[in-house]
Symmetry: C2
C-alpha cells in the first residue's frame, strides 16, 4: 500500500458503493441541484439552532447513503466523519443517532477525503466490510463561529467564500459495484503566511498544489492521466493561484480538466463572492454530482483533492497564519467496464 513518500495504492479495490448529497436553499438554486438527493428550502430545517440543523443534514445524508447502498443500518461497521464546528457537535450527535462505531476526523474542509482515504486503508487491511464516511457544513453555523453574526451586516471582500449548507456521505465497501478507490496521497501542512481569514483560497492553493504534485510524483503519473482533478473549495482566487503553482513546476493542467467544487456548486448569478467553501462543499459535489458522472462513465479517472484551512477565530485573534492541508483520493471506473 505505501507508495512513494506520502501515498497509498490500494490493491484490494475498495468500492465507492454509494454516495449522497443533501443541501439547503442556496444549493437548491445552484447548477447541481438535480444531483442532490434532498434539498431544504430554509436554513433551519425544523430545528431550534443552526447546529442542530447541521446535525440533521448529516443524519439525512447518512441514511441516504446507507439506503442507496442497499444494506441495513446494522451492516455498517464504522462511521468516519467530522465537521468544522467546535468539538464537531453536529457530527458527534449524528454519530450518537446512528449508533455505528465512530472514528472522528478533523482536517477542516479536507475532512471528506481524509475520511475516504482512512476508510480505504481500513478496508485494505480487511478491517471492515462497509464504512460510512462524510462531512457536513452549514452557512449560518460557520458564520457564527468563524466570522460575524449575519445580523451585523458586516461587509466582506471579494476574496471571501460562502460556506455550503449541506452534507455528503460515501459508503466505502470491500465488495460491490461502483467506482474503485485506487490511490490516496496524505497532505502535509503548508503555511505560506496568509493571515487574512477572508482569503482562504490563497491559503489553501499551495497545499492543493503540493499534494497534487506529490501525488503525481509518488505514482509516476502525468496529470493527463486523470480525466478531471476536482479540488474541494479553492474558489476563483485559489484555483488561479493553484494553476500558477502547478505551471511553475511544469504541470500543465487543462482548464476544463481542473474543476473546483466551490465553483461548481453555485451559479454565476449567485452572490457567493469567490465561490463555495466548507467541509460539505467537497463532500456534496464529490459524493453527489461527480459520483453520478463516474457512474455514467462521463469521466473514468478522477482525482479528488479536498482542501482545508486549519485556522480558528482564536488563531486569528493572535495574528497567527492560516496553515492549510489537502488530501487527494483517486477514484476510477474499473478497467473491465
Amino acid at each position: 500500500m505505501f507508495t512513494g513518500t506520502q501515498s497509498w495504492a490500494f490493491s484490494t479495490s475498495p468500492v465507492l458503493l454509494s454516495g449522497s448529497a443533501v443541501g439547503g436553499p442556496m444549493e437548491a438554486q445552484g447548477p447541481l441541484a438535480s444531483s442532490f438527493d434532498l434539498l431544504f428550502d430554509d436554513l433551519w430545517m425544523e430545528q431550534t439552532s443552526y447546529e442542530n440543523a447541521q446535525q440533521r443534514l448529516m443524519e439525512e445524508a447518512s441514511a441516504l447513503a446507507i439506503q442507496k447502498a442497499h444494506i441495513f443500518d446494522e451492516q455498517v461497521d464504522f462511521f468516519i466523519s467530522g465537521d468544522l464546528i467546535n468539538q464537531m457537535t453536529p457530527t458527534n450527535f449524528a454519530a450518537s443517532t446512528l449508533q455505528i462505531p465512530f472514528l472522528g476526523t478533523f482536517n477542516a474542509c479536507a475532512t471528506s477525503m481524509e475520511s475516504v482515504a482512512l476508510a480505504a486503508a481500513i478496508i485494505e487491511a480487511s478491517g471492515a466490510n462497509y464504512i460510512l464516511t462524510g462531512s457536513s457544513s452549514h452557512f449560518s453555523s460557520a458564520e457564527r463561529q468563524y466570522r460575524f453574526p449575519n445580523e451585523y451586516g458586516s461587509q466582506k471582500p471579494g476574496t471571501s467564500q460562502t460556506t455550503v449548507t449541506g452534507a455528503g456521505c460515501a459508503m466505502i465497501s470491500k465488495e460491490g459495484n461502483g467506482p474503485i478507490i485506487k490511490r490516496a496521497t496524505i497532505g502535509k501542512i503548508i503555511d505560506l503566511g496568509i493571515t487574512d481569514p477572508f482569503n482562504m483560497g490563497a491559503a489553501m492553493a499551495p497545499a492543493a498544489a503540493d499534494t497534487i504534485i506529490t501525488h503525481l510524483h509518488d505514482f509516476q503519473l502525468p496529470i493527463t492521466y486523470y480525466d478531471a482533478v476536482v479540488t474541494g473549495d479553492l474558489g476563483k482566487v485559489g484555483r488561479d493561484i493553484c494553476i500558477q503553482l502547478l505551471n511553475d513546476v511544469k504541470v500543465s493542467i487543462a482548464p476544463n480538466q481542473f474543476l473546483d467544487a466551490g465553483l461548481m456548486v453555485y451559479g454565476p448569478d449567485q452572490q457567493v463572492f469567490a465561490g463555495g467553501s466548507g467541509s460539505a462543499c467537497s463532500a456534496v459535489v464529490s459524493f453527489g454530482h461527480m459520483l453520478e458522472q463516474l457512474q455514467a462513465k462521463k469521466v473514468n479517472r478522477v482525482l479528488f483533492v479536498a482542501t482545508g484551512v486549519l485556522h480558528s477565530p482564536l488563531s486569528i485573534q493572535q495574528q497567527k497564519t492560516m496553515p492549510a492541508i489537502a488530501h487527494a483520493v483517486a477514484i476510477e471506473n474499473g478497467s473491465d467496464e
Copy 2:
C-alpha cells in the same frame, strides 16, 4: 483484522516503538513525575498564550518520541493526532512545524487511542513504516474554552475534574523492539442523558463499560486475561460507576487491575477534585508510565481504554446532553519475551 462486531485483531504485530510524556507544574508534583521526559515549571512555557504553550508541549513530545525511536524525523511517514481546542489549533500548528503528512483525529479525550488504533490499522495494511501519534491538553486553554476564566474564581463541585497540562506521543512501527499492538475496539457513542459539564466521569463511564464489554465479547476473552485495564480519565466518580456497570453484566474487575490515568497522574494531596482529565491524561500515562511498566515487564498485557466526552460549550448552552465515546487498544509484550 475485522473481529466480532466492532474490533480489529492485528496479525502483523505493529510495535509501540517509543513513547514520550511532557507535562506542566501540577504533573511535576504528581506521583508519576519520574516517568515524564520533560516537565515545565510554569503554564506559559515561554509562550505568549496558553494555546501556544500547548503547541509547544506537542512539539516537545513529538521530538522526544522520534528521538527515543532512534530514527530521523524524515523517516516518520504520517502524524495522526488531535486535541480538545477548537479547530485543534495546537495540533495543527505542531503538524505545521513537524512537516509530516498529517491526519487529524478528534474524539475528545479518546483521541489518543483512536489514533493508535488507526495507526496500527494503516501498518496492518502495509501503509507505513513509522507513524507518530499523540495528543495534548493544557489546563488553562481548556478552562478558557470549556468553563470560566480562572480569574473569575468560580466554584467547582467535587465531581469536576482537572485538565492535565501535557502531551504524550507514541511511535507505532512496522518493525522494531517493543510491546505489540494486538487488538483494538472502536467505540460507539453512548449518551445516557448526563447534562452536567462538571460531571464528565458519569458521562464517560457507560462508554468505557460498553467498549470494555464489547472488546471482551469480540475476542472471547475473560477480563482476567489482562494484567491491567487503564481507562483514560474517568476519575473517582466515573471509575466507580464503570465498575458497577461491569459488575451488572458479571464482569468482575479486580480493584488493583482497574487503573485510571486520571487517578494515577495526581497524588491524594493535590487539589484536583475527582481526578485528572483532558486528552493528554490518557496519553501521558499510557505513553509514559504504562509503557515503562510494559518495557520493564512489570505488566505484560494491558488494555488501554481512552474515554472522551463529546460536548462543547455551545451544546451545553443548548442544554444538550454529553455524548461520550471510548476506544480500547490492547498492547502486550511478545510471547517470546
